[in-house]
């Protein structure tokens, strides 16, 4: 359900940008999505293919650049990529002092158009 309004947001921002530049066709859309933002790539592309029919973005490819979540240990300062399932235990010093940040980005970076 959640991917539908997300996809509508992507499509309307892309169309608006293309319109402002008088582009005739959108071929690619570049997105930056955090790994912890619970957005499923395939699901968004699926909705996009349906919503974009009859628009100048029909057939466009969505590119998902995934933003990593970073884990840092407060004790030994070890830094690594946080991947679900998350754990507060540091793989290096074994203390339960890991803090996770980032991985929440959620924006459209650019589109590629044919003039």
């Amino acid at each position: 359900m959640h991917e539908l309004p997300v996809t509508q947001g992507i499509l309307s921002a892309a169309l608006e940008t293309a319109r402002r530049h008088r582009a005739e066709r959108i071929t690619d859309i570049f997105l930056v999505i955090g790994n912890l933002s619970s957005i499923v790539d395939d699901s968004v592309q699926f909705y996009f293919d349906i919503l974009s029919r009859e628009t100048i973005a029909a057939g466009a490819t969505l590119h998902f650049q995934r933003e990593k979540a970073i884990a840092r240990c407060l004790t030994c300062k070890h830094e690594f990529e946080a991947q679900p399932p998350l754990s507060p235990q540091c793989p290096q010093c074994k203390n339960l002092t890991v803090r996770v940040s980032g991985g929440q980005k959620f924006f459209i970076e650019s589109i590629e158009v044919e003039p």
Partner: protein, 215 residues
């Protein structure tokens, strides 16, 4: 081929309407809370328990979000609290336009503290700004102590986390330290309140803190 920059939040339309809601609440001096939790964690119970203990002069109002029914709104209205029920149909979260419409039907001049009870769901609501001043995530002991690990996005977005049904901690062998560590991992600045809406334990501390946040 030409590359055009967009650099825009994917839910930009929602974000800008959330800003309008925020401005409206500010004009009326209302402190808004977005209450999120899974179904059955105790969102409505927390609102009722909090409203019961608010200091004189701090008047509550409620927006209730549910897929269907007015069960929760009826409970709130029975207490004489202004309430608007939003039925989202199939939508799994509230969004800024829905809240904006509900605000038109509330007596804003008679409200100081607005509880916006989101649809029971630990995933989507975290992504949709409503224009509130703070996110409050309610977790219920029977749901298990692993929720911050499984739904990091929701807990990372919280200003305060309320662990409800604390009277059931022993029954469900709930590991409160494990829960707390999970919360600290994704959100070290969130304030955690362990309470029971049923027995009232911990509720006064929560209300006192909440009242101070409003300033």
């Amino acid at each position: 081929m030409t590359q055009l920059p967009v650099v825009k939040h994917i839910l930009a339309a929602n974000e800008s309407l959330a800003e309008e809601n925020r401005a409206l609440l500010r004009r009326h001096g209302i402190f808004g809370l977005n209450i999120m939790a899974s179904p059955g964690a105790g969102k409505t119970s927390l609102i009722l328990a909090t409203a019961d203990r608010l200091p004189a002069g701090l008047r509550p109002g409620v927006i209730e979000g549910d897929l269907a029914s007015s069960i929760d709104a009826d409970k709130i209205a029975a207490k004489g609290i202004p309430v608007i029920q939003i039925n989202t149909g199939g939508n799994c979260h509230l969004d800024a336009p829905m809240v904006g419409n509900a605000l038109k039907h509330l007596p804003l001049a008679e409200i100081d503290l607005l509880f916006i009870e989101n649809v029971g769901n630990l995933v989507c609501p975290a992504n949709f700004a409503l224009g509130s001043d703070m996110n409050v995530v309610v977790a219920g002991v029977p749901e298990g102590h692993d929720k911050p690990y499984k739904y990091p996005g929701m807990f990372a977005a919280a200003g305060a986390v309320v662990l409800n049904k604390a009277d059931m901690i022993d029954v469900f062998e709930f590991d409160a330290d494990y829960f707390r560590r999970g919360l600290e991992m994704v959100n070290p600045t969130a304030n955690l309140f362990v309470l029971s809406c049923k027995t009232g334990t911990g509720v006064p501390e929560w209300v006192q803190w909440l009242t101070a946040q409003r300033g």
